[in-house]
Symmetry: C2
Subunit: 197 residues, 2 copies
């Protein structure tokens, strides 16, 4: 694996912890690069998640099918780590499906390799920080869902991650917000009119 | 501190990891026991959370005030660990308030002491497992909120934690489910009628 190639992975990890050169060699060896096409399913619900992934570029959605309808739980935007945590850690069937919304580059490692990596104190620290950060994000989404209207949640996204809203198809965003695509269109129009005036 | 006293804490931790005797002495020394009365506020929103807690007995709620209204995020039922994770880890003001719903017994340790404990591989492992479990719980609540009606969420709680429903006041449960107390009363009556027939 060329050094250049793993740069995105390295840069991401080093925002959280400093990795000694020796550890870095083991980490690099443990990951394998893969290209996924738009709409490609990375993990299907009902299957056991066998990998921990790093999303180098692209965008994903997590969804569950409920009464025949796809409901988006959340989105992962590069660069970030992802997996189906419960399924991966307990090797049980996943409840959600993970699908690429855009052509994406992902890096994957296995449970066994991750266990080896967790012996390194650098990787262990990194894993703890990421788990905690994911917990904060999840709690934030939960809190917003419990306290905010769909319109306010849309406005918050528009302020905090405007480029994300450009990249997520309307129907997926509407499903995430828990409203019909038509309602989201109405909110969008309302917001645009307000911005113009 | 008498050995008897820390038994609940020890039993809880040992469900997750095995703690060597030497480590156990440091853990025990790091926690301080406190009694809290029903309605007592353990952490107030806007204040920095200075402790990691173990709830030995009792019941708590996490809530945020939004437009003058208290919204319950979740409940913690003994025995379990709790804190305001983001506030505790980053020493920033907490968004939520943590309040006892029942007279409770809690054990608390500080950020500094927890950092010392995290040097122990036993405690470190325990902390990782708990953080991950909390993440699973949070994701589960989020998923239910995104995919289930309030009535179905009530029914799931009734099946999985019937004794919890006995202990949480109706208004707090309604706020957690995101509905008016009157709506929850209607759902309860409906369910009871169904069970009788």
């Amino acid at each position: 694996m060329k050094k250049q190639e793993v740069k995105a992975l390295q840069q991401f990890i080093e925002k959280y912890v400093t990795i000694p050169e020796a550890d870095w060699r083991l980490i690099t060896k443990s990951f394998r690069k893969r290209q996924v096409k738009r709409s490609e399913v990375i993990l299907e619900s009902g299957k056991v998640c066998r990998h921990l992934y790093f999303l180098e570029s692209g965008l994903l959605r997590y969804f569950i099918v409920k009464d025949g309808e796809e409901k988006n739980k959340f989105f992962t935007i590069a660069p970030y780590f992802f997996t189906s945590q419960y399924s991966f850690n307990n090797q049980t069937p996943a409840k959600e499906t993970i699908q690429a919304i855009e052509d994406s580059i992902i890096w994957e490692t296995t449970l066994e390799k991750n266990h080896q990596l967790l012996e390194l104190s650098s990787w262990n620290q990194f894993a703890q920080k990421i788990t905690q950060e994911v917990q904060f994000f999840t709690e934030e989404i939960l809190e917003e869902l419990q306290t905010e209207t769909a319109e306010n949640r849309y406005l918050k996204l528009l302020n905090s991650q405007p480029e994300l809203l450009q990249r997520i198809p309307l129907k997926h965003l509407a499903s995430y917000l828990g409203i019909a695509p038509q309602s989201l269109s109405r909110i969008r129009k309302k917001v645009m009119t307000r911005h113009r005036s």
